[in-house]
Point group: C2
Chain length 156, copies 2
DNA sequence: CGCCGATAGTTGAACGCTCAACAAAACCGG
DNA sequence: CCGGTTTTGTTGAGCGTTCAACTATCGGCG
């Protein structure tokens, strides 16, 4: 490690702060909207989405944590809450006695189905509608690059 | 409001999920790094930064909330904690008896100075180093567009 | 088989954020 | 100057996340 810090030049500074402002505002807005009209934070919505897409609407906790990019602990707490809300149910895994499978209940699916249109609408309004098609493409490439870069070295 | 939802097409879906993954991973990584080697979350770091840049290293709570994009409540809680850490101090505002000014203490400044190089290094490693100069420029434009779009209609 | 390190998942405490309610002072029209 | 509205900042409860510690099981090697 060198002794001199390479500070951000004014352009980088501007980029970094704009990114912080935008991504924070975006996530907070969507979180608030989802909390308001579905009674759950965005993170929980994502869990239900992943479950709804899985075969039989069921996933190992471990898989689910991977897919939603959350720690096992976070998922465990979230699952506890989702379970008392009646949106998921946890069962023992038949092939691994340590394991648990999270299952989306019918009630959970219904709640998700009710929340989805409004949320998608929000994502459109706050993200896609503001950008040109070219920018959407740029954002995809940038995000995929960053995601790769981060998950290479960044553990959970 | 129409009755039909315009769902995200596969490309939009992919973009949206990549963005979620990337921004979440980025923020979590930086947060963890900052928490680990400066003992504060990224949000608190930002508060100290803004104060350090202000004339006399002091700002009205209200200004500070604006600059850091946080609610008054959030800032109030944060300030309470930063004050017990000895990094800021709160004084009555001379021109408005409702007001408070947050002042960065010498100890706060020193802590910030100690944390900054490592954090900047992190931002470089996890963000700028992964992108081409063109992508950095694209990211700036995209972020500024989104930030404008969101702060137009999105209150706190 | 028997042990030992890895893996799966949970738990509780500490902490930060949100939301709604609140107090106090400032502003402003009449 | 008076009364209502707005602005400023704080507070407490409830919730979600982190981190470290812990239990239980699995997998593999001797």
């Amino acid at each position: 490690m060198g002794v001199m810090t390479r500070w951000l030049d004014p352009d980088e500074q501007r980029t970094w702060r704009a990114f912080l402002t935008a991504s924070r505002a975006l996530m907070e807005t969507l979180d608030r909207e989802l909390q308001h009209d579905a009674g759950m934070p965005h993170a929980y919505y994502e869990i239900l989405v992943r479950l709804s897409e899985a075969p039989d609407r069921r996933l190992r906790m471990s898989e689910l944590a991977e897919l939603t990019g959350s720690s096992r602990s976070r998922l465990s707490h979230a699952a506890a809450r989702l379970e008392t809300s009646g949106w998921i149910r946890r069962e023992d895994c038949p092939t691994d006695r340590r394991g648990q499978v999270a299952v989306l209940t019918d009630e959970g699916f219904a709640t998700l189905a009710a929340a989805a249109p409004g949320h998608v609408e929000g994502v459109r309004r706050h993200l896609f509608d503001a950008l040109s098609p070219a920018q959407v493409d740029q954002l995809r490439r940038i995000s995929e690059t960053l995601a790769d870069h981060l998950t290479d070295s960044g553990p959970n």
